[in-house]
């Protein structure tokens, strides 16, 4: 099967998932992002790469941070950004997803940044554009269902490389609600491609199915064991709605077993970094002392996220 993310020349034309992306493309994105980091220090915080291009933010699911950082990234590249409050507009009136896309194409869109509760929605759009012969319109997946959130995965890789330089010697633990997390999937596929020494999944049995061991991960149901001698800890947000089902007993019990407290963090290497895609739930999956502590790089992730999204958009627009 051909990779829907690549064009006939093997270049990135849509960013839909970190899964299936060759190592060279991942590294190229990270290297390009590095050149964008310094732009915020300049008098003019804009470069003209996407001047005259229109980027449509299509968020079928709520998000503040991701939508805002995509908007800042596109504006730093001098693109025009159009935010569609899709939940309150045409879809609510019964228009199908692809009809919405066709209408926006008629408004001369150059790029769609798509978040959707349904896994695969960005693929559907990318395939539709291909079928319609619109090869110069690009799609960026900003999170689809439980499936993927590739720019978050890439900014996590950028953050890891920034603080740890090389991937090869690292032990990385992904902790929490892995079952429902598109961030976890994007991180895991990118970390496997970039070749970390050891990849661990840590969480309760109900949120960490045994299939994850097939992905080449070591599965732990005990946080202390899972964190032992780790270099990088990626905490996941525990979605509140999971608490209402039968998957978890209570917030305090979850925090007691899987919350990252200073005592638990001490099991990792002394220079381990603590990451979190946000928004953080203090006292649920992470203690305030850790979230605000020396080892947390959570706010650096947000800053790097802008440079990584600039890199993705400029690479796509050029291919």
């Amino acid at each position: 099967m051909t990779n829907p993310q690549l064009n006939v020349h093997g270049e990135l034309t849509h960013l839909l998932a970190t899964e299936g992306l060759p190592r060279e493309i991942l590294i190229h994105i990270l290297d390009t992002a590095a050149t964008f980091v310094g732009i915020t220090d300049r008098e003019v915080k804009k470069i003209p790469l996407l001047r005259g291009k229109s980027v449509f933010n299509l968020f079928f699911e709520n998000s503040t941070r991701t939508r805002t950082t995509f908007e800042i990234a596109a504006k730093r590249l001098s693109a025009d950004v159009i935010n569609l409050d899709i939940t309150r507009s045409s879809t609510a009136k019964g228009e199908t997803l692809l009809d919405t896309i066709d209408n926006l194409c008629s408004m001369h869109a150059d790029m769609f940044v798509v978040r959707h509760a349904m896994s695969g929605a960005p693929y559907l759009i990318a395939e539709h554009l291909k079928r319609m012969g619109k090869h110069d319109i690009h799609v960026v997946n900003a999170g689809d269902g439980r499936h993927a959130h590739p720019t978050q995965g890439l900014l996590d890789m950028y953050t890891i490389r920034h603080f740890k330089k090389d991937f090869e010697p690292l032990t990385v633990a992904v902790v929490g609600d892995i079952l429902h997390s598109r961030v976890a999937r994007s991180d895991i596929h990118a970390l496997k491609t970039l070749g970390v020494a050891e990849l661990r999944a840590v969480g309760p049995k109900t949120l960490l199915p045994s299939e994850f061991s097939h992905l080449g991960m070591r599965v732990f149901h005990n946080l202390e064991e899972g964190l032992k001698d780790c270099d990088v800890i990626i905490m996941l947000r525990l979605q509140n709605e999971r608490m209402n089902g039968a998957l978890l007993p209570s917030v305090s019990e979850y925090f007691g077993h899987y919350g990252l407290s200073p005592e638990k963090l001490a099991y990792a290497k002394p220079d381990a970094i603590v990451m979190h895609p946000g928004p953080i739930n203090r006292g649920v999956e992470i203690a305030s002392e850790v979230a605000d502590g020396q080892q947390a790089v959570i706010l650096d992730q947000v800053t790097f996220g802008i440079a990584v999204r600039m890199a993705v958009m400029s690479i796509l627009a050029g291919n």
Binding site: T35, R42, I315
Partner: protein, 169 residues
Amino acid sequence: MTTPLVSLPDAEAQCQQLADLIRPVLTPHTMLVGIYSGGAWIAERLTRLLNLPEPAGFIDISFYRDDFAEKGLHPQVRPTRISFDVNDRRVILVDDVLYTGRTTRAALNELFDYGRPAAVELAVLADRGRRQLPIAPDYCVWKLDLPAETGLTLSLAGQHLSWKVEQHD
């Protein structure tokens, strides 16, 4: 295929000649900014030859090119490094070859996103003519005319700069 079309001068000796041209006009406000790759190598040499107190700045013009829509992003973008305040400074942009003038245009645009220099001048080793923009060098040591199908590039082997002439099809 590499075909020598003209007798090629010694690029390292040309850097010394360029330094000799710039030396009389140096002021405490002068700073050098080299355009990657060739201009950066030359700017490093000029900084040494002219005993400048500050390291040169470097500009990668990839984000300011006017052919981005056709060619896309260069696979190897290097970070622009201008570690000093350019406001009210006399900037000498340094490049290896001046040809259409489009690279200089892109570098000027990028430079002005860092601030407002008092003046900007242009120093190049080679001027091959055939400009497409109203741009001229202030300091130049080698003027030549080459057909459009001929490429002229500076390359670095070890620590030594040398010219290469290539015939494009």
